[in-house]
Subunit: 921 residues, 2 copies
């Protein structure tokens, strides 16, 4: 540790750090250094590295500070020299801010102290220097408040148990005493009284006078920032946002500049392009005569950035120039903070701006057109999952026209959301856990609310701008947010809000349009998204790059059409079992199930006798069950055929993988008393029969039970019916002039022999249909293959490939069996496993590449060894998860298959896999 | 097909076949050929190959016979030439037997026709030639009866539905008419009447006269034998005995010799050594003036073979010589059939004799000592599973002395069996299916009874000798059998049997001593087996050869002692969970379970707060549950420590792998209402609490649930307690002067990180115990390792081995997850899978080498890549299954671990693996 360089200076046109040093200096520190070194006006300062934060926890505060002290002293001196100011001394006192800044941005999550260096002595010097005593006093009271809050943790509770900051209350009391509504209404004398009141409160709560030694202030400030790294809010934020492997936060100690020194001062935040739409225009807000935190906190509603041109045109001009230089330098949209101190512009921060999915797409496509970035870079600029925001339904514009807007706010984060009104983050989490969609309604949000915000469908705030906490966080998640809806009066006590005449109570449904800022009463219908404009261009680019095919998982013509619209190149998985539940079919299928076991027994007996006469006698004796069984099958056949015809037509010649019946039979029977009673009545059988069948079919581990091809092998007539339905449908559709490419998939194969027998039987049925229909084999280019979802299948794929024309990896089940996790139960420990770092992500969401991925890879390699032309895909839910899609590309799969709404995501991820290779070359 | 040679001649000192051609000629045919060619007197004949049988089914009878006819004709002519007899013509008519004979012996399973070639004309010739008209008539009536039965399938049913053979009834009627008790009492005239009655009955049932053309007889006979291959009895026998991959039966057409021509004739069966004990003495039975089938059918009780010396000393002398030559030639114990026709000895069959496990061991050890076979051969002579018969308890000799023998039979198949009396095979199967042990009691058994015999614990017959159907079949299975207990009168109608004064009813308990032939009333206690005599010698030889270590799975000092007595070299698996069920422990453990979830939640909350005061408050609030949790753990600790001390002492320095808690917590709670009520009362908590906990712990797929190291990681205090108990026990035992080698096994690891964290925690506990007890690390040479039972673990074993000193493959779970079979449920289809040939054997019984075995092999290879000294074993039940043990040897495991009673079996199998390599070299 000793000898490690912990402190990095920046300012005066140069810096010891740069933007590549984010892990060490944090995002803010690295970018301040980078800006300083490219000549952008940045208040000088120094960054204490994240390694120091780590050492703070690994060693102790005392030991770290011992190591750190000489470096901080040296850099303070350098800062004094550069600025010509003195820390803790007049006449030109050096004041600094102390801010956190981790490698990944965690907005509002950690603590900041401003105006550090003020004490009774430097207060006077500042007053003298600026000729503005009120400003100096205001700065001092802010410092005492922040220091008391952040560094000393001063808190109190009122009679109803609500927490408040006594230092703010001390000020409120003075305001009340003099009848001042706003802080700015306070006179210099009154502000002096505030300062005294704050100091007294400070002493009351800490037992000590407010510290007058600026170095003491500084060290305590540094300790507070390091300490804030592991406060519960910050931990929770990192959990929700899956931020891991960071060693800590850096601390930025930077010369203070003041946006609140008077009318020629101001402060603002801006995005170099619109973070919601991606439009290429400067987009931001500022407050005149305010300190930076005032904008972000959303307490005063700020003015749009263009207004600055009217107020301080020179500063605005310079800001536009800096906007351009930053984009050219960073080659991406920037999120900046600036302060104007007596007309002089200072940049306090730049970082890559968070953006909505829509904005990400547009910015990528625009920057590519502008020549700022290359094609692979453009592809990689859009996190595939962000497309989700563009793909999901928006409000039906027609329906939206018919309802009244009850309130109008800022379009803080686009999208559409309907939900029930709740007023606290806790309620939002509770209701969400119960499966109820909610809209979290707050006057303004704070970092304490992130859990509830995450749980809500959308967020509505009455105060705050486009860069308020609510807006920034919601956009980061792609969650719909309407902010600063000033017409709304929240009443937490009554559990309601008013919007004009309308009273909306907790539990009432409202709808938010995050793209327009409109708030509606009730639930609104939605319409589907379209792939046009920049989105369409990005998809074209993706298709130009990707090698991997993208199919969809779909069981209906409707879903198939949606998926084809999103670019699906076929169906990778049609689950036939869903079809058995529809309408009367379930009755037919249940009739079959009730006699299936008996039929099997009868067939076995017949097979065991030598004599045809004897066999006939057995058949005769069991005529009733055999008839019921065959009857059910013949009822199901035409219905299944129709299903497949619809899907084949929707696919219009694209290939279609159809999985034969997979779930265990008991899934088709009701397990509750009432359901069994109802079934008994419908089917006119004693309820005992049904109960007995349910019991007979009960399994201890249904996941590992009598399902998949095991069903097909023990009840081959069911598979025969399905195969017949598929091929008859194919023949019908083909004759109507539409090409068909059916791929029959035998599920849950674990051993080559299972597939061999199933395949032989299927081929007999197909042959028979071809003969019946006088069809030539070549007219219907069918394939037979299997789902690789049992570990044994993956590791013996060379043998299985002897009987397969294609493999489709069922990574859901492969994860269950490969890892030994029951998806239905694993919640009990998987969450903790992720927390403990055993699994980085939930393996049911993100393919476990090391383990399950290895099984897939073995399956592919072994399968292709036997059958080089084997078509190989994946149809588990991982097929739409970007990291998993990239893995599928790398191990050479032919395609992925995912749900319709994830098709564009998979297309982009597949292209990114190629882009990453190109950039890595 | 055309051009294939189907027929193989033998006789006259040479043969076209030999013993290596069993698959083609069947066992009987191949051995007849072999005997003929080494000059042993065999009635000449020819064998129609099993390929012809296959063609019989593949083509048709008609087409096959067309191909076959010329060859049969040629060989008939050759036979006529060799014997000087004429087929179907006097004065010296050629009569033949037509017998089945597959590659694997299926005693009594298929059909035989004797005396074929007799008709009205040759009858007279035979009468003239032998000067014994009665004999000729008897031969003719036998032929008609067999032909009617076997070839024509003549059957009838009496009024109560029992089947009978009308051709036998026709004879019984004549016997009744003349008041003749035995067949032999009939005079020649009366026998002529029997012949006429049989012919009339034949015509009545078939509508045709009895066929007079001998060739017609022959072809029909051949067809009947081929047809018998697939009769239900034969199919069932093959299923039970797991005989697969045979293409059919051969047909042996052989010159008839007659043991029933008069007082200088006889027929017998013998074993060259004792098939029950292995003793090196000639052992057999014969009947004077009888035909071969009379002995096997058990209708007349035959005389011991030694008596032949008194009656026909020359033939006996010759037979002894042949016995010696056969053993020297075949180098194994032979099961032979012979006939003496007018003092001339003919050998009708020789085959490797079936034997009990005890006999197999003794014969192998003796033949090795005699120099007949080599060491590897001796090892391979004993099917390892047959040792099971020697290992399982015999009746306690003391107890046996105190009870009266109610009947005495022949010691037909050794062992001890107690069970409830049943009288039909169907009952035996039914009762057995219900879990009730039965003794099947029959006058005599027939092939129809095999299902019931298999289901019974033991078999008792009133009639039949040591080579009766019951005796032969029972010995083949190592099942206890007392045969020919003449003092017993069975009364099927009343459902009882009488033994002197004692009446034993259906359902009464009896006990059989198959080694002495004693029958007792009631159930008898048993004593354990010992490894002495030839068994001990064989085990010594096995240990000399084997490389693989053999450990045992044991949870108690008692089992451990048994296993060590059987040669176990340590414990490969101690399941600690069984220990939690004993006595009051379950109460302590249940107390822990009731609060475990709450404790976890509290701990998580404490971990999440920054402030120690806050943490203390949470602790304070939840004092009750924390106390209950810790209390339960501290109650369990000393008990677990005692458990381990007992086992360590029993092991006396041998290594001991102890698996930490594995099953899901809900397994320790009662799931039924009554049990929950009782638990509530014992623990003084509301029953709702228990119900709620049971519900909270419910899992859809418990097999894949919250168990193994997943428990240890989420409830680490439980593992801590177990590790502490193990190490404290080790320290205590070591201090008492007994060496200990504990191996702590972390179960259900799927990912290296699970083991890493578990291991670190365990090592902390161990370190602490060492410090507390002032023990030096080297005194207790402990290891930490894991069970590889999740497919993911096997395929990422290289990573897992970073943290493991040993692997133990849990092939039970590896089979469940690798194949996707739930052991509790798979019965629903696995039986059919084996029938369909998808799996050759139940993979839970015999390791699936292709699939699960591959996972094991990968695990070994990957594990050793990281850690060359990794100790690798297997502790699933496959560890005691011979084929699986051999596989473990081949893939280089260090040891197998199995249940105590299978230790010698594993030792032998491990040695056989080496022996097979040596013989294969």
């Amino acid at each position: 540790m000793a000898g490690t360089k912990f402190v990095y200076f920046f300012g005066g046109g140069s810096a010891e750090g740069n933007t590549s040093m984010k892990p060490l200096l944090g995002g803010k520190g690295a970018n301040l250094a980078e800006m300083a070194s490219i000549g952008i006006p940045v208040p000088p300062g120094f960054t204490i590295s994240t390694e120091a934060c780590k050492a703070y926890y690994d060693l102790s505060e005392e030991k770290l500070f011992e190591l750190l002290r000489p470096e901080v002293e040296t850099n303070l001196t350098r800062l004094e020299e550069l600025t010509g100011k003195t820390f803790g001394k007049g006449p030109n006192p050096l004041l600094v801010s102390v801010r956190s800044g981790a490698a990944v941005s965690m907005p509002g999550m950690m603590d900041t102290v401003l105006n550090l260096g003020l004490n009774d002595e430097t207060l006077e010097a500042l007053a003298g220097l600026t000729g503005n005593r009120r400003f100096a006093l205001d700065a001092y009271r802010r410092f005492i408040q922040m220091f008391g809050d952040v560094v000393m943790g001063i808190r109190a509770e009122d009679e109803s148990g609500h927490e408040y900051n006594p230092l703010h209350r001390a000020m409120d009391e003075v305001k009340e005493k003099y009848g001042r509504g706003l802080d700015t209404d306070l006179t210099a004398e009154e502000m002096a009284e505030v300062v005294e009141a704050c100091k007294a409160t400070y002493k009351e709560y800490t037992g000590h006078d407010f510290p007058q030694d600026p170095k003491d202030q500084l060290w305590r400030g540094i300790a507070a920032v390091f300490g804030s790294w592991n406060n519960p809010r910050a931990v929770r934020y990192r959990e929700i946002n899956e931020i891991r492997n960071l060693i800590g936060t850096a601390v930025n100690v930077q010369t203070m500049v003041f946006g609140n020194m008077g009318a020629d001062c101001g402060t603002g935040v801006a995005f170099t392009r619109h973070p919601g739409t991606g439009e290429n225009r400067f987009f931001g807000e500022f407050l005149m005569n305010a300190q930076g935190e005032d904008v972000v906190a959303g307490i005063r509603t700020p003015e749009p950035i263009e207004r600055l041109n009217d107020l301080l045109p020179e500063a605005y001009e310079e800001l536009l120039g800096i906007r351009k230089r930053l984009e050219e330098h960073y080659r991406d949209m920037q999120d900046i903070e600036f302060t104007i101190e007596q007309k002089k512009l200072f940049m306090l921060q730049t970082r890559t701006g968070k953006r909505t999915g829509q904005a990400a797409v547009r910015i990528a496509v625009d920057m590519l057109a502008e020549g700022l970035i290359t094609e692979p870079e453009a592809l990689l600029r859009v996190p595939p999952n962000d497309l989700d925001q563009l793909l999901h339904p928006r409000f039906d514009p027609e329906a939206e026209k018919t309802v009244d807007v009850i309130a109008q706010g800022l379009p803080a984060s686009p999208g559409a959301a309907s939900g029930q009104v709740v007023f606290t983050a806790e309620e939002a989490e509770e209701w969400n856990a119960r499966g109820e969609p909610v809209i979290l309604c707050r006057i303004e949000t704070s970092p304490e609310d992130v859990g509830g915000m995450h749980a809500a469908e959308g967020i509505l705030t009455a105060r705050g701008g486009m860069t308020s906490h609510a807006a920034v966080v919601a956009r980061g998640w792609g969650k719909c947010c309407v902010a600063g809806a000033g017409g709304i009066a929240m009443d937490y006590g009554k559990g309601e809000f008013r919007a004009g005449d309308v009273v909306v109570k907790k539990g009432d449904w409202i709808s938010l349009n995050g793209s327009t800022g409109a708030v509606y009463l009730g639930k609104l219908p939605t319409v589907d998204a379209k792939l046009t404009g920049p989105f369409g261009k990005l998809m074209e680019l993706a298709d130009k790059y990707r090698r991997l095919g993208v199919r969809t998982n779909s069981d209906t013509p409707q879903d198939t059409e949606v998926a084809v619209g999103f670019g699906a190149e076929g169906i990778g998985l049609t689950r036939t079992e869903h079809m058995f539940f529809e309408g009367d079919r379930i009755v037919s299928f249940r009739r079959l199930i009730l006699v299936a076991e008996k039929v099997k027994e009868v067939k076995n007996r017949i097979a065991a006798v030598e004599d045809e006469k004897e066999a006939a006698a057995i058949r005769e004796q069991n005529q009733d069950v055999l008839t019921q069984y065959n009857q059910a099958l013949s009822e199901l056949l035409p219905l299944q055929r129709q299903d497949f015809e619809g899907i084949f037509r929707a696919l219009d010649g694209r290939p279609c993988t159809i999985r034969l019946l997979d779930p265990p039979l008991h899934e088709f029977l009701p397990h509750d008393e009432a359901g069994q009673q109802e079934m008994a009545e419908t089917m006119e059988v004693p309820v005992e029969t049904i109960r007995a069948t349910v019991e007979a079919l009960h399994e201890f581990n249904p996941m590992l039970g009598h399902r998949g091809c095991r069903l097909g092998l023990t009840y081959p007539e069911v598979s025969d019916m399905q195969v017949r339905a598929i091929i008859e449908a194919a023949v019908n559709v083909k004759r109507s002039g539409v090409d068909v490419e059916p791929e029959i998939m035998i599920p849950l194969v674990g051993k080559a022999e299972e597939l061999k027998i199933s395949r032989e039987r299927a081929e007999q049925v197909i042959q028979k249909v071809f003969e019946e229909q006088s069809v030539d084999k070549d007219e219907i280019p069918y394939k037979i293959g299997t789902m690789i979802e049992i570990p044994r299948a993956a590791i013996t794929a060379d043998r299985i490939a002897e009987y397969a024309e294609f493999f489709s990896f069922g990574t859901n089940d492969l994860t269950q069996m490969g890892c030994g996790f029951s998806r239905d139960d694993a919640g009990k420990f998987l969450g903790e496993y992720v927390k403990m770092g055993i699994y980085e992500k939930d393996p049911f969401q993100v393919l476990d590449q090391e383990g399950v991925g290895k099984l897939v890879q073995m399956g592919v390699e072994l399968g292709r060894k036997t059958c080089p032309n084997l078509k190989v895909g994946i149809c588990g839910e991982h097929g739409g998860e970007p990291e998993s899609v990239k893995f599928c590309h790398r191990i050479g799969l032919d395609y992925v298959s995912c749900s319709p709404y994830r098709v564009p995501i998979a297309r982009l991820a597949a292209a990114q896999a190629v882009a990453e290779e190109k950039l890595g070359e």
